[in-house]
Amino acid sequence: MKPLSIGRLAILYLAISTMLLALLGGYLWREIDQTSQALHTHEVVAANTELEEAVQAILTRMHNTAEGLSKWDETRQQLVFPEYYTLWRDNRVRDVGLVPPSVDSVALYDKDGHILQGANSPDPMPDTLPGPAPLSLLKREAGHDHFYHFVPVHADPGNMVLLGYLGLKFDLLVELTHARAYRYADLSTLKVSLDPEHAVEASRTLDFLKIEAQPNPELLEFQRLLENSLPRLAIAMLLTLLTATLLLNRLVVNPLRSLSAEIDALRDPNVKIREQRPPSLPVLELENVRRSLDEYQNRLADMHQNLEETSQSFFEQARHDALTGAFNRRAFDEDWHESVRDRRLGEVALILFDCDHFKAINDTYGHNVGDAVIQSISICLQRALRADDRLYRIGGDEFATVLGDTDAHQARLVAERCLEQVLGHDFRQYGLSEPVTISIGVALSDLPAADDSRIPLTELQKRADLAMYAAKRPGGQKIMFYTREIGSAEALVASRSINAVFQALQEPEYIEMVYQPVVRLPMMQHDYAEALTRIRFENELVYPGDIFPIVQDRNLDAEFDLAIIRAINRDMDNGRLPAGQGVSINLSAQGIVNARVMDTMLALLAAETGRKIVVEITETALITQLETASANIQKLREAGALVALDDFGSGYSSLRYLSSMPVDLVKFDISLVRLLDNGTDKQKLMLEEIARMVITAGYDLVAEGIETRELLDKTIRLGFSHAQGYYLGKPA
């Protein structure tokens, strides 16, 4: 069933109410009419009862009057001496009060039934007795109805001696009028259905009488009141209904419509929730509904606001990095794609930042320190960036920013400022011993493509990647701008190097080891050769600067160490490394703690007991498990190997490593050695003091990068026990 609106329901209710009221009015009218009819019937019955009682009373009184009169001495006297009969009949009878005034005539009859002679009476009595007395008759005469009553008159009390008869004549209507008071009978309506001059026994009187009830003044008044009241009642009912309609409309219908409209409006998500509360509704329940709706709306608004805030929060969270607060990769992608789509980017610079050796930091000092390093780098970068520049953390240790309307100079300034901020930050507060550096790759959108057309902006990220890749290269600049050379070389190298590394791992023969002699000072005797890794790929050699970033980036250190050991072992087996030729093998930090690497190395040492084998551990490669590393180094030493700390002086923790690990040799980093040539006096002094301190501590010093005699002499003078470099012998 289709639901009806409250307005139609109200109209229906009012229509039903009106109909019910009309039915009620009709029912009341019918009941009253029936009651009136019943009352009238009752009154007619009562009127007839009254008439019957009156007739009976008349007959009784008539009889009593006649009896009393018949016993009266003077009556008997008239029957004996009727000389004064007329006087007796017309005066004496009346005067003495023995007959009521309603008696029209009195007559005496002799024993034969003949009326006594006398003057004519105004209401003459029959001349002869109509029948045997006692006798009562009702007779219509001259339009009037009379009762006749005849009784015998006896001379003696024992009624033994009949003297004659007495007759009385009553006027029916007069007698009825005086017989009693009538409450119901209306004597004016009395009808006697008696033929003129016809007489009937008085006992049958009621058979010929017909009377109507008096109008009941109370009932008439009631009916009049009712008739007068009905129109007023109808008007009152109409007014009541009208008032009820207005009240219903105002109190219920309109508020319900309003509520319904409000509820309907809630379906439209674009409709704003009412802010101003409407005035209170007059009906408590509706007000409760309204209040509940308001509360519901308010809660809905709160929920909506919370949802928006949550959505915004989620949006923000989804676009921000939880650790650093910087924008995340998703934000970077969205902003980047949006910028590309909107083509809002003009001359822009995409700068990528990458933390050097972050994995090692994370592994060595734990994730908390790693997180702190990342946070600090983020802070430094954000501090260095311009206010409107966004910093994105697009990888674990990789950040990016896009500088709008920026040329190469401005980009460089920003990049340098970022680098300075990072380098100037004190990371030792987190327990780090080594310096934290970042590599920065910059790509500019204004660098035209090879065909001299403007590059697609989507290419910027790739270019910045290549530039940063170049910056990662050992010994290079930490800020690299993308150039076509880098683009072609790095892309080519990167692609070729990756293939080469994986090829070498699968097929060790791709690895070609070259050996650079290390001489003993000061006599410069050949002591051993450092094995340096090359990969021959597609008839070209891939050098360590291209190999190890890939190896480290893909965490292939231990695998690659094993490949190198197998390559050296191959060279020992095939005689490229003659017996007795000492060799120095570079192991990664992961390799020194790797069981397979250690087993392989120990096996090699066991097989080559007559060969001097030096294991070089790169100082820049942070050793994550220092105790395991120390134990393994000790095992290697016990197996006959010498252990050298490579690239000493390239990091913070050189001395810490030196004091913690049982090494035999310390290889000064080439950057330290070159300070002997181009360093300041202070630097030279410090270097000398460091060399003296290391020697004093019992280590042999190895200088690398010896490319001139002068430099060699300086190392000899400082007490270095070994040296290597192009001056002493190129790798072969």
């Binding site: 001495d73 003077e74 006297q77 001496f81 000389e83 004064y84 001379a155």
Partner: protein
């Protein structure tokens, strides 16, 4: 002897010692009208008392009834007739306004009939008694029908039919009535008479009563050939001022009951009874 037994014995003694038998008796008068009266038989050795009521009354009038009772109780035979006054079987007093046709003479005639009625019952001594105007009937009877069996006349409160118009006017009225009766004696007239303000009677009837004025009464008393005793009330206001004194001047013995009124009712009824019974014992 218990209370019930004593009551029963008393009742039996009363019944056994009372020869009185009360009855209503009827007498057909010469005019064929039946009159009635109360008759109580008594000691035959004692005289019978014919006790007549006053004007328009019956034998049931209290003064008469008390005397009937008292005399009967004393063993006297008592007859208390009710004059018919022209009404058959009259048992009710007649209203003043009724049409009166009776005369004093008719009353005397009825008394005569009753005396004969008593004589027929072997009554040899009759004491005639009457109250008020009933004494006039008695005197008229004695005047018209002397009978040796009537031994004495005892009158109670004897008085004439009084008119309030004074004696001269009464005489004039009588004269007029006499004349009117000559013209039409049956014509009726209303006039104050005795206690009736409107005595409605035929001329003949009224005249018959008016004829019996004081003088005629006193004359009749004087002429009565038997002992006459008049018992009068000391405070009878229906009497003429000198009436008792005039009575006393007659041969009649006049007994005055002090304080008694015309009907001698109340406490004086005993005095009346005592005086009447005393008189009955006197010759």
């Amino acid at each position: 002897m218990g209370f019930c037994s004593r009551v029963l014995l008393f009742g039996l003694l009363v019944l056994a010692g009372t020869p009185v038998r009360a009855e209503i008796v009827h007498l057909t008068l010469p005019n064929k009208i039946v009159a009635q009266g109360e008759f109580r038989t008594g000691d035959p050795a004692k005289p019978a008392v014919l006790l007549l009521h006053g004007f328009l009354q019956t034998h049931n009038f209290p003064t008469i009834h008390r005397l009937v009772e008292a005399l009967s109780d004393e063993g006297y035979t008592v007859l208390a007739p009710t004059l018919s006054l022209g009404i058959p079987h009259r048992g009710q007093s007649v209203a003043c306004e009724a049409i009166h046709t009776h005369t004093v003479a008719q009353g005397a005639e009825e008394l005569n009939a009753w005396v004969k009625w008593l004589s027929a019952r072997q009554v040899r001594q009759i004491i005639l008694a009457g109250h008020s105007i009933g004494n006039i009937y008695n005197l008229a009877y004695l005047s018209s029908y002397p009978d040796s069996r009537v031994k004495k006349l005892i009158g109670i409160s004897i008085v004439e039919g009084r008119l309030k118009i004074g004696e001269p006017a009464r005489a004039g009225l009588v004269r007029d009535l006499r004349k009117a009766v000559q013209e039409d004696k049956r014509k009726t007239i209303e006039h104050q008479f005795s206690f009736c303000q409107r005595f409605h009677a035929t001329r003949e009837s009224l005249l018959s009563y008016l004829e019996w004025g004081p003088d005629k009464i006193l004359t009749a008393v004087r002429k009565a050939n038997l002992p006459v005793t008049m018992i009068m009330g000391g405070k009878d206001d229906r009497l003429g001022a000198d009436w008792v004194d005039r009575l006393k001047k007659t041969p009649a013995r006049v007994i005055i009951i002090p304080g008694a009124n015309h009907f001698m009712d109340g406490q004086h009824e005993f005095d009346l009874v005592d005086e009447f019974l005393n008189e009955m014992k006197l010759p």
